[in-house]
Symmetry: C2
Subunit: 197 residues, 2 copies
């Protein structure tokens, strides 16, 4: 039996988008179930003392090239979002809220937001832009705003982020397979090996 | 014709040791010449605002696992040096000095120091330990100390480190193939592709 793959994600991370594009193939290849687990990357950075690679300008410049190389290798569309970094608090609350209240719509939301962020390169920090993108994906803006304002949803995102940090998470994407942690979309081959057992 | 691979290294980086173990295979596979270029990683960090990944404790813990996984995959010996981080100024001056004064002994020195640091896990920051390790590799301690005290050698290491930063380097190992820069021992597959053309 393949071991399930836990995928801890935040929409704000371009490497996490790249990992997301590869997970259907990995699920098919390994037979492993993929468990998407939202977390707030900003909260993880604050708790661990980590920071975005782009805060080192030379690293940020290289990362642009590196992400483009992986996108070419994977054969997936990718555009570095010119509005980066975008505050993802509302987006991640939406992910947690759908998991809690409408789990059957969770993956459609995840797909739509990753695409809007890293293919269409929209400014999802702008509520009007976000409402339009969600509308195009079949999500009602008023219902969404109610969901992300729900105190239980807010508390769950905080709790899930704290739980991730307690498990050793310091960035995104992070994978857990059995007891093993893997960091980075560039570790998907190790993730596959671990899931296949 | 394969494109030469420039390998910018500092002995203090365990990922750089792992890359070093793979370069003979890559040279054989691609036919590319490998140009070893010493730089002082501490100087690169200072100039770019970058820092060692272990300064984020959670990242440091994960990195230990990650390096061990790659060592297993590569089938090479690896022991995380308990004295890490070790000040590599003398070691890197030695590398530059041999390049300048005894280039025919440069690679023997590089092999010996990487092995002493990341296989034997010696405290090379201790002059007595270093002298013994160099002696075992056939290097005369007095001659070595004269070499690393040479003002021209010192100046060359500074100049080479500044030149690396000017090219966009922010960490180790870094590779250049033609006009392209690659960071990390986990990018060796891209380095191979670029060298093969």
């Amino acid at each position: 039996m393949p071991t399930p793959i836990e995928f801890l994600f935040d929409f704000g991370s371009p490497a996490t988008y790249l990992a997301h594009t590869q997970l259907p193939r990995i699920a098919a290849d390994t037979g492993a179930r993929i468990d998407y687990q939202p977390m707030l990357l900003g909260g993880v950075f604050k708790a661990t003392g980590n920071r975005s690679p782009v805060e080192v300008p030379a690293k940020g410049r290289w990362m642009n090239d590196d992400l483009a190389r992986f996108a070419r290798r994977y054969g997936v569309p990718f555009r570095f979002n010119p509005h980066f970094p975008i505050n993802t608090l509302t987006l991640m609350r939406g992910a947690v809220g759908l998991q809690m209240r409408q789990p059957e719509r969770f993956m459609a939301y995840v797909d739509a937001v990753f695409r809007a962020m890293w293919v269409d390169a929209l400014n999802l920090g702008d509520p009007a832009v976000l409402a339009k993108a969600l509308g195009a994906a079949g999500f009602d803006a008023a219902g969404f705003m109610a969901l992300v304002s729900d105190p239980e949803v807010k508390a769950r995102l905080i709790a899930d982020t704290e739980a991730a940090v307690a498990r050793g998470v310091f960035g995104a994407p992070t994978f857990f397979v059995g007891g093993e942690m893997f960091f980075g979309q560039d570790r998907l081959d190790f993730v596959c090996e671990a899931a296949a057992g």
